[in-house]
C-alpha cells in the first residue's frame, strides 16, 4: 500500500539526512515526488511511502521525535468544485490521471486524490482557478 504524505522540516533540520535515515535505519521505500529545501526556511517534501515495507511505526516515531511534521497529501490539494465548469482543460496536462473524465457520456471531470502527486501542472492551466495547492 502506497501512501503519499508531506514532510515539513523545521529550518534547523535542513542539514540533516532525514530521508537517508528513513531508508537506511527503518527500511522504508521512499519515492520523492517533489521537494523544496532552502537554507533557514521550512523545508517541504512530498513523498510516497510503501506502508508495508520497513518498520513503519518506528519511522513515524523517529520523525515525530526529530520534529518533522507529517501531513497527508490530501489536505494540501484543494479542488473548488463550485468553480469547475468541466471544461476538462486539466485532463491533458495531468500526468497521473488524477484529473480525468472516466465517463465520456457525462463528460464530468473527476478528481482522484490518491493519484495526485501535487505537480501543480493543473493550477495554471485551469481557466477557472478551480485547483489550489497549499505548498507554501
Amino acid at each position: 500500500m502506497q501512501k503519499k504524505v508531506v514532510l515539513n522540516f523545521p529550518p534547523h533540520l535542513i542539514d540533516q539526512p532525514i530521508t537517508y535515515r528513513l531508508i537506511k535505519d527503518f527500511g522504508l521505500v521512499v519515492n520523492i515526488l517533489r521537494a523544496r529545501i532552502s537554507p533557514r526556511e521550512w523545508g517541504r517534501m512530498v513523498v510516497e511511502l510503501a506502508e508495508d515495507g520497513g518498520r513503519w511505526q518506528d519511522a513515524m516515531d523517529f520523525l515525530a521525535d526529530t520534529g518533522v511534521e507529517v501531513e497527508p497529501l490530501a489536505r494540501e490539494v484543494l479542488r473548488h468544485e463550485e468553480r469547475c465548469i468541466h471544461c476538462t482543460a486539466c485532463v491533458s496536462p495531468c500526468p497521473t490521471k488524477a484529473l480525468d473524465v472516466p465517463d465520456r457520456q457525462t463528460m464530468t471531470v473527476v478528481f482522484d486524490r490518491e493519484r495526485c502527486i501535487a505537480c501543480e501542472l493543473c493550477l495554471k492551466v485551469c481557466p477557472y482557478q478551480a485547483m489550489e495547492i497549499l505548498f507554501e
Partner: protein, 401 residues
C-alpha cells in the same frame, strides 16, 4: 417556397407554449426521435428543440450606466476593480469588455502570464451580486464639473446593465494542435509540442448553429437563453461567415456563422457568466447560451437530427500555420471522435479536450426546455434572418478567434 408536409407557424407554436401543450426536446433527444420515426413524424410530434453551449466567448462585454453623481461627472477614464472600461460614451455609460486585463496585470512579461482578473471577472462579480469598486476620472466641464468619482457599485444599484456580445456562439471551430517543438499558450489552451494534445471548443450536436445550419429560424429578434436569463439575437455576429465550405448536410466544415446577442444583465446568473483566465493568452468570459429551434417543418427536424458523427472540425496547427495565416488544414475530425477523448493524427493517438463544457451545455438545453414547457418563454419570430451569403468571397479557413 418548398412544399412541406408539416407547416407550423411561430404563432401556432407560441399558442401551444402558452397552453402548456408544446412538445419540447433537447438537441440530443431529437436525434433518436428523427432516426426512429423519420423527419416528418418528428416535425409533427415535436414543436421546439432546445440547444445549448457554454464556453469562453471572447467578444463579449456589457454596457453599464452607473448613474449621475453630485456634482455630476462626464467620466472619460473608468476602471472597475482596476479593469479599464471604455468610457467614450456620454457621461456615465461605459462598456466593460471581457478580454480587458486589470490595469496592473504583468501580462506576458512573466511568460506565460496568468491573467487572473479581467473584464470577464468583473461581469461575473457583478452578476454574483458582489461589490465592484469604480474609479472615474474626468477633465471637467461647465455642466459636469466633477473630476473624480470613486464608489462601490453593485448590479442591483446600477440604473442599467446590458450584456451585449458582438460575437458569440460560433458555428463550428478549429481543433487546435501544435506541431512545433515547444509548448505554446493559445486561446485554445496550452498546446504541447509535437501534437501531444488536441483542444476543440464546441458542444457538437448540442451547439445552436449546428442545428439550424442555414439560419432558417435564427435572426434579429430570436429570443434566447443568455447567461442564465433571457436575451435576444440582435444581429449577425462580427466575423459572420456563412460562405465557408459545408458538408452535404449543410453543416459548415470551418468556423462560419456567429451571433450578436444582448440581454438584461440584471436577470443573469454567475453560473452562466464566468470569468476566464487563459494561461499565456488573456482574460475572457465563458457565456452560457441556448437557442430554441422551432420545428416549423420536416426540414428543420432533419437539421436538428444532426449528430456528432455528422459534424466535422478542421484540425489546425497553432504552432506555425495559424500564426502565419497559411490556411493549411491538417484534416477533418468528427465530434464523435473528439468527444471520445482521443484521436489519431499521423498514426499517433492524442488526447482531445473540449474547452467547452458539455455538462453545462446540457444544463442550458434542459433549463430552456423547462422554461418553454412551463410557458415562461415564448419564441421570438425573427424580423430578419441571418445572412446565408457573403458579399465578398471568403477563404475556406479561418484564423479569427
Amino acid at each position: 417556397m418548398a412544399n412541406f408536409q408539416v407547416n407550423k407557424t411561430y404563432q401556432e407554436i407560441n399558442e401551444k407554449i402558452k397552453q402548456g401543450k408544446a412538445v419540447v426536446v433537447t438537441a440530443e433527444e431529437i436525434i433518436d426521435i428523427v432516426r426512429r420515426k423519420g423527419e416528418v413524424a418528428a416535425a409533427r410530434e415535436v414543436d421546439v428543440v432546445t440547444t445549448g453551449t457554454f464556453s469562453p466567448m471572447c467578444s463579449s462585454g456589457a454596457f453599464l450606466n452607473f448613474g449621475h453623481a453630485k456634482p455630476p461627472i462626464k467620466a472619460s477614464a473608468v476602471k472597475l476593480n482596476n479593469v479599464p472600461a471604455y468610457a467614450g460614451l456620454a457621461a456615465v455609460d461605459v462598456y466593460i469588455g471581457a478580454t480587458e486585463p486589470a490595469a496592473d496585470d504583468p501580462l506576458n512579461k512573466v511568460y506565460p502570464g496568468e491573467f487572473k482578473y479581467g473584464g470577464g471577472h468583473v461581469i461575473q462579480d457583478l452578476v454574483a451580486g458582489r461589490t465592484v469598486h469604480l474609479v472615474a476620472d474626468a477633465y471637467g466641464t461647465d455642466c459636469y464639473p466633477n473630476k473624480r468619482l470613486e464608489k462601490d457599485i453593485t448590479l442591483k444599484d446600477l440604473p442599467n446593465a446590458v450584456l451585449c456580445n458582438p460575437r458569440n456562439c460560433y458555428q463550428n471551430y478549429n481543433c487546435a494542435v501544435n506541431l512545433s517543438n515547444r509548448t505554446i499558450y493559445t486561446y485554445m489552451g496550452p498546446l504541447k509540442p509535437r501534437a501531444a494534445n488536441a483542444n476543440y471548443c464546441t458542444a457538437g450536436e448540442l451547439s445552436p448553429l449546428f442545428n439550424d445550419p442555414y439560419y432558417r429560424t435564427i435572426g434579429i429578434g430570436t429570443r434566447i437563453f443568455l447567461g442564465g436569463g433571457v436575451g435576444y439575437v440582435v444581429f449577425p455576429g462580427t466575423q459572420h461567415h456563412p460562405g465557408r465550405p459545408r458538408g452535404e448536410n449543410g453543416v459548415p466544415l470551418a468556423p462560419a456563422g456567429t451571433l450578436m446577442v444582448l440581454g438584461d444583465m440584471k436577470k443573469m446568473s454567475p453560473r452562466f457568466l464566468v470569468g476566464v483566465s487563459l494561461l499565456g493568452y488573456g482574460c475572457s468570459l465563458a457565456v452560457g447560451l441556448g437557442v430554441p429551434i422551432p420545428l416549423l417543418n420536416e426540414e428543420m427536424a432533419r437539421f436538428c437530427g444532426v449528430a456528432d458523427e455528422d459534424i466535422f472540425a478542421p484540425i489546425v496547427d497553432y504552432g506555425t500555420d495559424y500564426p502565419a495565416g497559411t490556411g493549411r488544414i491538417l484534416g477533418q475530425v468528427s465530434y464523435a471522435t473528439l468527444k471520445s477523448g482521443k484521436m489519431i493524427l499521423d498514426g499517433n493517438e492524442i488526447v482531445t479536450v473540449p474547452l467547452s463544457s458539455l455538462v453545462r451545455a446540457r444544463e442550458i438545453a434542459l433549463l430552456l426546455k423547462e422554461w418553454i414547457e412551463q410557458g415562461r418563454f415564448l419564441l421570438g419570430e425573427p424580423v430578419e434572418l441571418l445572412p446565408t451569403g457573403e458579399e465578398k468571397p471568403v477563404p475556406s479557413f479561418s484564423h479569427e478567434s
